[in-house]
């Protein structure tokens, strides 16, 4: 499928009518989601024929994109029941019931042991796609929550797998050094200017531009170049 075909289809998806501020709910823009995952497939072959996890699936935009691009299966997880209902409708409208299934869980839940992997998920995925909360709401949202999602995502792929995650461009250096500290390899594939229409009552401006980086992170450290 061509990029624009995927983007046009994603544009039709249902989005949040009553987004919850504490969960930082925004549907991933169609253009961004389409571009991100089409690149993932075209450049790296990371979607078609793969077992994909959408960590924090929200309205299900990335899940639907992965399904359209030929993923073998997509598991969408989210903490919010209403978001999962929207995801489910988007999946069904896109005729992807064969491919996409959902689980309700909290990425921050750690069970009896404190570990960077979701203890309820055995086995490993080929690819994780993720539009994490950015921790933008300070006291409302856990600080560093986007890195919590990224760390979790990295532990959910097998050693040959890849994580595709979105993070604010302002955090680029911090993410690069953190990824290296984890013994992983990260590359910011490109930047996207996300125009957020006024979503929450407290926002003063009608729209807000936020620059995000599209990251590809793999579990192993890159071999040193000779």
């Amino acid at each position: 499928m061509k990029d624009w075909e995927v983007q046009a289809a994603l544009q039709e998806l249902e989005t949040f009518k009553k987004p919850k501020i504490e969960l930082e709910q925004y549907a991933t823009p169609a253009e961004l989601a389409g571009h991100f995952l089409c690149s993932a497939q075209r450049t790296y072959g990371d979607i078609e024929g793969k077992m994909v996890l959408d960590l924090g699936c929200g309205a299900g935009v990335l899940s639907v994109a992965a399904g359209m691009l030929g993923a073998d299966s997509v598991t969408g997880v989210d903490v919010d029941e209403e978001a999962l209902e929207i995801s489910r409708r988007n999946r069904d409208e896109s005729d992807l019931e064969d491919v996409i299934d959902f689980v309700r869980l909290n990425v921050a839940d750690r069970g009896e042991k404190d570990q960077p992997v979701l203890p309820c998920f055995r086995g490993k995925f080929d690819t994780v796609v993720c539009n994490p909360p950015f921790g933008a709401n300070r006291d409302r949202q856990q600080k560093g929550i986007d890195l919590l999602f990224l760390h979790t995502a990295l532990n959910m792929v097998h050693s040959g797998g890849a994580v595709y995650s979105l993070h604010k461009s302002s955090t680029r250096e911090h993410i690069q050094s953190t990824v290296e500290k984890w013994g992983a390899t990260g590359e910011a594939l490109g930047e996207y200017s996300w125009n957020l229409a006024k979503t929450y009552k407290h926002q003063k401006k009608a729209t807000k531009d936020i620059a995000v980086d599209m990251w590809r992170v793999t579990p192993k450290r890159a071999a040193p170049s000779r």
Partner: protein, 124 residues
């Protein structure tokens, strides 16, 4: 909850596996069998999980679907792949309960979505 998803889930509290399933309502998707797809899936699947699920969903499975042997065979045939396809890709639990045999935590499945929230996990 598709059969594939069941195979991936362990107890959130104690990582006990596999979770036992009591089905209140099941559904079956019509999904075309593609052997290469199931071959790709095999390294990611746990055989004991497949056997447990096929036992727990016995009354809902196609009568003609071959039963999975308790021990994973050295070589898998097309018949095996078809049975696994039916179980993981077609069978779906719409309402039911997942129970951990180790710690007895229970996770509810409603409208085909399993609830793996820690503070909502119940006990016996």
């Amino acid at each position: 909850m598709k059969g594939l998803t069941h195979n991936l889930l362990a107890c959130l509290k104690c990582t006990g596996y596999p979770l036992r399933l009591v089905v209140k309502e099941a559904d079956q998707l019509e999904c075309e069998f593609e052997q290469e797809h199931i071959v790709r899936l095999m390294p990611k699947l746990d055989w004991d999980g497949l056997v447990a699920l096929s036992e727990d969903m016995k009354e809902f499975l196609d009568a003609e679907a071959p039963a999975l042997p308790k021990e994973r065979p050295a070589t898998l045939t097309t018949e095996h792949y078809k049975a696994i396809h039916h179980l993981t890709m077609e069978m779906q639990t719409v309402n039911g309960t997942l129970t951990c045999s180790k710690c007895n935590s229970k996770f509810q499945i409603r409208d085909a979505i399993p609830n793996m929230m820690l503070h909502e996990a119940g006990d016996a």
